[in-house]
Symmetry: D2
Subunit: 179 residues, 4 copies
């Protein structure tokens, strides 16, 4: 079970990142920090004759990493009641690579295990639910298995350390991942 975390925050050492690090203590995994890569917005060429054209950015490297792992933890603070732009940029380009014969996208994505780690303020246990539902629809659509998620209540740096229930959940995940 090869584990990958995809970090969508624009800030290092944020609250979401803190959470996932607890879950992965002592566990081998790869980390992808999206803010370190140049990922352009998709240009929708699905319905043109020529199809998608190559994009001069870092996306294929990111995608290759994603496809090579079995268990993916999507880590994003809640920005404006949704995932960050960094992470949305990652998903939007799927539409291009689902149609790129060099990648066997659909087959490889199918069956991967998905986890979501997210944190936010403004009553995140309720206002964060549309985001969880969006992830649910995404995973359903491509056949990934939505294993679990955590919504942490934290805005300022370090605040997540007071969300004991979120931390408990990370311990439980750690236990599961160790098996």
């Amino acid at each position: 079970m090869k584990i990958l975390t995809i970090l969508g925050s624009s800030r290092d050492n944020g609250n979401s990142e803190y959470l996932v690090n607890q879950a992965l203590e002592g566990i081998e995994h790869t980390q992808l920090r999206l803010s370190e890569y140049k990922i352009n917005p998709i240009t929708d060429m699905r319905h043109t004759e020529e199809g998608f054209s190559p994009v001069d950015d870092d996306y294929e490297s990111v995608l290759t990493d994603f496809l090579a792992h079995d268990l993916i933890i999507f880590v994003t603070p809640i920005y404006w009641f949704g995932m960050t732009s960094h992470m949305k940029l990652f998903f939007d380009r799927w539409s291009q690579y689902m149609r790129d014969d060099r990648f066997d996208f659909k087959m490889q994505v199918h069956g991967k295990k998905a986890y979501v780690v997210t944190t936010g303020g403004s009553n995140p246990y309720v206002t964060g639910l549309p985001l969880i539902q969006q992830f649910g629809h995404i995973f359903d659509f491509v056949g990934m298995s939505f294993e679990d998620y955590v919504i942490g209540n934290a805005v300022k740096p370090g605040e997540i350390k007071e969300d004991l229930l979120a931390l408990d959940k990370m311990k439980a995940w750690n236990h599961t991942f160790k098996k």
Copy 2:
């Protein structure tokens, strides 16, 4: 009542754009096509001593246009069960400019009227609901008034012309805007 459409699609003349054009037939308005502007992802500096630093892109021009209008129509196809990256990039940077003394963001945003036009496939009347809820939370948070939305059922170019109910709604909006 100064009207602005903010187009989040990566494709010109898409289905969402077709819809909003019906609603605005014969009505003076400004159009902002986000894909024509360079908008960088936010870097969250809320919690640093130095705060946000200037970003070398087109965002301030886009934001100035946004703030100068009273009725905003957000137009986005559904990409991966959410708004497009282009549009999410627009919202994420709000966090920066809410804290920029050169803009009176909070006061100016408060009370604006908001409409949402979105189109998609995969049973969009149900799977598009988390997106509508996200918009609802955003507008609540900043005190914009969520007037109405339309979810069109269309994926391929031109397909929206068969969604007669969505077109009816655009006619009704047109009627309202004319008053």
Copy 3:
């Protein structure tokens, strides 16, 4: 295509009922007004040795009607951001009759077409969305096809007549049903 409306309101001639009547003008159909039947809450006996026991109420007659039709229109005002108790009582007892050999519940429900007509106040286009999502989950679970829904904005008697878009939708449904 045998059409059935299931009315969940506790009030005759309410706004939801007005809407569905527009959709069914000139169309043969059966009407089930739940408030005219005695339907007891379910007592969950799924996990007992003896299983469910017969209930002395009108449910089997209601269920038989439901199973005998192909296209079902669920009509309910929004009470406390959900369907009415009358309608929830109808669904809850499904759990009993899915397990009753006298009814071939699963086979017969599968493939039925479902429509939802609902009306409410308090910004129903947004606050009514959890109810639509609930219906979506119900129909998915039993394999009914969720064809369309309408959310009308109306509280006081007759108010629905001003919701021109909802009325337009009913006309469109009428057109579809006539085919």
Copy 4:
């Protein structure tokens, strides 16, 4: 802080009840098992001249208990992706008693703390979210404070004992309630 649990299950000693009992271990509280009371569906008389008329059932006793407590834990299994009929019957009648001068409903409800305990199968962490959103809307509407909720993954009797995270949360609540 007077604590009340309102049990909406139709079964004694169910999974939701098990959870809440963990949260309340050693803590003084009152328990209301709705299935022990006769509660009729509401008949909507809001818009009639005569208004609501008295109902011959146990509702006023239930409501009086509810109003007399400060912290309310709503406990319901997920039936058909929503709260049970028993619990929906409880809420629907609020519409009557908000308008009954013998009760100062609005003032007394305002500010109460609300918790929700729910359990279900069929991927409840995602399919249970519309129910949580519905509770969120209800509490917002009457000014109750939505403190926290737990969704347990359990269908068969006793299954909840394997949902260690839900149990952890109950321990944390217990700790909070003890203060």
